[in-house]
Symmetry: C2
Subunit: 144 residues, 2 copies
């Protein structure tokens, strides 16, 4: 449902967001280490996040990635949409292209509500929220 790349991307975004108040910028290498992800791949994902204006980047010396204030209020669903595309939360559990309340697959009624809850959770949760918890130390980005 959520790709590996998207998971890295969420972690990266949360890490960067958590440092937004410091005004610091972070290089790819540093971010990759911090979230335990392959650096080259992380660079690709950051590129996409930047293109979707979920994080901001600056080239050159003293450049790097950072979050502007308005970006902290973006919901994590924006990251999923940017990396995995919009369809994720609309897919049928049993793979029918046509699956709806009117033409449900056998699992539809069991699944649709849960899927919608998940979507709204992703919609309501912002980078600011997650970054806040991270700064408080309530929550982790690494496996240590």
């Amino acid at each position: 449902m959520i790709s590996k790349g998207c998971k890295y991307a969420i972690r990266a975004a949360v890490f960067i967001a958590a440092q937004a108040d410091t005004g610091k910028k972070f290089g790819v290498k540093e971010i990759a280490e911090e979230i335990e992800a392959p650096p080259a791949f992380t660079a690709k994902l950051l590129q996409i996040l930047n293109k979707h204006k979920i994080v901001t980047s600056l080239k050159g010396p003293y450049g790097g990635f950072f979050c502007e204030a308005y970006q902290l209020d973006l919901p994590v669903i924006d990251i999923v949409n940017a990396i995995d595309g919009k369809a994720v939360f609309n897919e049928c559990v049993m793979g029918l292209h046509l699956c709806s309340n009117e033409h449900p697959c056998p699992m539809h009624h069991h699944y649709a509500e849960i899927r919608d809850n998940l979507e709204s959770s992703f919609q309501q949760t912002t980078l600011r929220t997650l970054a806040g918890d991270l700064s408080l130390g309530d929550v982790y980005l690494k496996n240590v």
Copy 2:
């Protein structure tokens, strides 16, 4: 989260289960048509379902796939476990290998409850339930 193959497999199992009372057996070709899936691939999946005793098969002329009575009470989660492996419902949304209530990722509390609901829904829903709805015509296996 749930692979394409697994989706075909669930559809196939529900179709077979819905015919269990007739005592009929079904060939790969027929099943594949009924669930709109590629025949050769469907054969592979049915093989796995058979190996996990979710459906039963008989070789030779007049052979085919069918459900025994006890198999109707299997939960759909068994199919997911058979095809995609056990890990599916334990994965962390943000890709941490170590993610738990004690060492949560930033999304953990937002996600874990929903994921557990999903798991118990798959655990509680049996082939019999789904097959019943299908027989009643409340529910569909095809896109028509």
